[in-house]
């Protein structure tokens, strides 16, 4: 096309691109300039590097390995509550990590349900701390993700293939071999890579369930170098190592073509002709029940144990909640503005969307370290803790916000760009009358995700906040540290409710009166 009329000023997009580049790469550069040489790392630090990779690897393998039978059972069985269960599989996207951790503690912890059952059977209780605790939490978060992605793979297999299999009298092994395995072979490596990437940046889980020489991730080591030793040079060096791990995992997942997390079109049940046997029915039922219990019981535990104390929470928890809500709403707003500016400018310069994805490889703790180094000489980092948290979260949310808004903006421009040009709809009028109304639904949905993500964030805020300036997740972590488990449970329930309400309000706002 020889000329494309520039309907909307691309400058905001370029500014945002600069900002994102600064946050993901600039902070890294800042960090690199302050980093010690490798000699400064003791064997403890190298153990954290090894642990990060090993736990991420096993988390990914376990999540995908367990997700395969669960997704298969979901794909080929129709039962009461199936839709609700699939919706629930999306919940970990907006579930604050600290809430899940408390829920898992209530179930698998020293005085939890599982320990009680083991005790009845005369067995020693298992400890939730250390390597297997970290794995447990990571599987809790990523099994649902893997299941959703695989389920999508299953329902996208053309129905004719299963009919053909029926006509040819395939056993379920034959079906697996000829139809399901080829699908898994293309999908599974990408899903493994993305879960590996997610788990390498694990901080909150390692902070609570990990620790000690055997279960410290690099992210946690950065935090400790910072918080306990105030050794910025070492923190910076670790941040550099973390970036390399993330970058390798991100490149691998790009290369393996990660499937998109699709939120719809999973209600179709694949009609099968090889699954009528009783043994298979029982097998599928067992998988579905196990997966449901694994997801639901920890959440139920939070609701039941938290309900009694949520109304009697100390004032500090409520002020922390207010801080969190403000931070989350600001962060979601920033993330939307950033994504919109990038998506609009990307109509002209497509590479800008790639810039928005940079933070996939960035870690919030690395950003936090870099920002701390930059602002430390000039202002008290604690005084800008919430602003930094909102900004960093906005940048971290950018990849998925952009991925949902970008295509919507493009398709709006594709369909209505010419018409808008011919009517002189440019600038604000174009944005207000054409683009925004057309992207409301994905905008509301992704803002809801971004708000919930920021609401539950327990990352960069730990570096910056003072005790009297905590967000709700940080407050919960402190209550846990002080062994105020009843209050922690109540606060976790509050956090869970606030996250869900924020997500619901944004998503609802996008969908209300929406016309396609």
């Amino acid at each position: 096309m020889a000329r494309r009329v520039l309907a909307i000023n691309p400058w905001p997009g370029l500014i945002v691109a600069g900002l994102v580049t600064f946050f993901s790469l600039g902070t890294l550069l800042t960090v690199a300039l302050r980093a010690d040489s490798f000699g400064a790392l003791d064997h403890f630090d190298w153990a954290s590097v090894r642990f990060t990779v090993v736990q991420a690897f096993w988390s990914a393998v376990l999540s995908v390995g367990l997700a395969i039978p669960v997704a298969r059972a979901l794909a080929r069985r129709s039962f009461w509550g199936r839709g609700a269960l699939i919706t629930l599989l999306g919940a970990p996207f907006i579930l604050p990590v600290i809430v899940a951790i408390l829920g898992l503690t209530a179930v698998f912890g020293r005085s939890g349900i599982v320990a009680y059952l083991l005790n009845l059977a005369g067995l020693e209780p298992i400890s939730i701390y250390g390597f297997h605790g970290v794995l447990l939490a990571h599987v809790f978060f990523n099994l649902p993700l893997a299941t959703r992605l695989l389920l999508h793979g299953w329902v996208s297999i053309p129905a004719e293939q299963f009919r053909l299999a029926g006509a040819l009298n395939f056993t379920s092994q034959d079906t697996f071999h000829h139809i399901e395995w080829p699908m898994l072979r293309t999908l599974a490596p990408g899903i493994l890579a993305i879960i590996f990437l997610i788990c390498t940046t694990s901080f909150a889980v390692a902070l609570t369930f990990g620790g000690g020489p055997k279960a410290t991730t690099v992210e946690l080591a950065i935090y400790q170098a910072f918080k306990f030793d105030f050794d910025i040079g070492k923190a910076a060096l670790l941040a550099g190592i973390q970036f390399v791990i993330c970058a390798i995992a991100a490149i691998a997942s790009l290369w393996l073509h990660v499937p998109q997390a699709v939120m719809s079109g999973q209600d179709r049940i694949v009609q099968r002709f090889d699954t009528g046997r009783f043994r298979l029915k029982v097998l599928d039922a067992v998988w579905i029940v196990m997966a449901s219990l694994f997801l639901i019981v920890p959440l139920l535990a939070i609701v039941m144990q938290g309900a009694s104390s949520v109304m009697s929470l100390p004032e500090a928890v409520w002020t922390a909640a207010l801080r969190s809500v403000l931070t989350a709403v600001t962060s979601a707003g920033l993330s939307l503005v950033f994504a919109l500016a990038l998506a609009l400018a990307a109509i002209r310069w497509q590479w800008l969307e790639g810039v928005g994805m940079l933070s996939v490889a960035a870690s919030p703790l690395v950003m936090g370290t870099g920002l701390f180094i930059l602002v430390f000489p000039y202002v008290d980092p604690a005084s800008i803790a919430l602003a930094v948290t909102a900004l960093v979260n906005a940048v971290m949310s950018l990849p998925f916000v952009l991925r949902s808004i970008g295509p919507a903006v493009r398709s709006s421009e594709q369909q209505f760009g010419l018409l808008s040009d011919s009517l002189g709809l440019v600038g604000w009028a174009r944005l207000r009358l054409v683009i925004l109304p057309r992207i409301r639904a994905p905008m509301g949905f992704s803002a809801g995700l971004a708000a919930a993500l920021s609401m539950g964030d327990l990352g960069v805020v730990t570096l910056f906040a003072r005790p009297d300036g905590a967000t709700l997740p940080l407050q919960i972590y402190r209550l846990m540290g002080a062994y105020r488990m009843d209050q922690a449970m109540g606060a976790a329930l509050l956090l869970l409710l606030l996250s869900l309400v924020l997500f619901y309000l944004f998503d609802r706002g996008g969908r209300a009166h929406a016309v396609s």
Binding site: S422, L423, L425, A429, L433
Partner: protein
């Protein structure tokens, strides 16, 4: 008068050439096989596609480098002529003011336009609640309020059935006449063209012929046209 002076558009290995004048207030059909360059020609006139060389003049004024909305031109596209999230009134109102902040008088103008396409009672409906023919009429009503002296119709009714389509072609004719506008319409249907056109521009393999009066064109059709209609 619309003048195309040695207009050339080069797109990869496709080349469009046009060098002719169209007198004011004529109704001109643009005919030719698929891929010959009909829509490309309209894109150039509408300002969506830059010329590689040559000039486009309207009433002696060079409009080659003007952006689409600054041109004295209104376009009805093949599809996506209406914003699905806006009512008929809003869709027409955009033709007056893109900000949709209309004065009472301008609102009255919009209502008049909708009435004259027999959609007086449908103003508050969105496109999804209108039939295909009604949607076309909303687009035509917008032409009325845009008051541009040159109207481009790029196969705008191709999704409609034959009888509905010929009604719409008639309506477009009337609207052109009321606005005193020059009309260019791309069409595939020779019956529509006979109904509509004073002149015909034949486009084949990127070459746009100068407009010929309809009767002359039909009496001495080019070989490509005979192949195209298949007799």
């Amino acid at each position: 008068m619309l003048c195309l002076k040695n207009v050339v558009v080069q797109q990869d290995d496709f080349r469009l050439q046009a060098n002719f004048d169209i007198p004011t207030r004529r109704r001109v059909a643009v005919l030719g096989p698929s891929g010959a360059g009909k829509s490309t020609l309209l894109s150039v006139l509408g300002g969506y596609l830059a010329t590689t060389s040559g000039r486009v003049l309207w009433q002696g004024l060079d409009i080659t480098d003007q952006p689409p909305s600054q041109r004295p031109i209104a376009t009805v596209f093949q599809d996506n002529n209406l914003f699905p999230h806006m009512t008929a009134v809003q869709n027409v109102g955009l033709g007056i003011k893109p900000s949709l902040k209309l004065s009472p008088k301008q609102t009255e103008q919009v209502d008049d336009a909708l009435r004259s396409v027999e959609l007086g009672d449908f103003g508050q409906r969105r496109p999804a609640a209108l039939s295909g023919g009604q949607q076309s009429r909303v687009a035509l009503a917008r032409l009325l309020v845009q008051q541009k002296p040159l109207i481009l119709l790029d196969e705008p009714f191709s999704a409609l059935g034959p009888s509905m389509r010929s009604d719409m072609v008639d309506l477009a004719r009337d609207i052109g006449a009321r606005a005193g506008a020059t009309l260019l319409m791309v069409s595939h249907d020779i019956k529509d063209v006979e109904h509509f056109a004073d002149d015909v521009i034949w486009v084949e393999e990127g070459m746009c012929q100068a407009p010929l009066p309809l009767a002359d064109f039909l009496n001495h059709p080019p070989q490509g046209f005979k192949d195209y209609v298949g007799d």
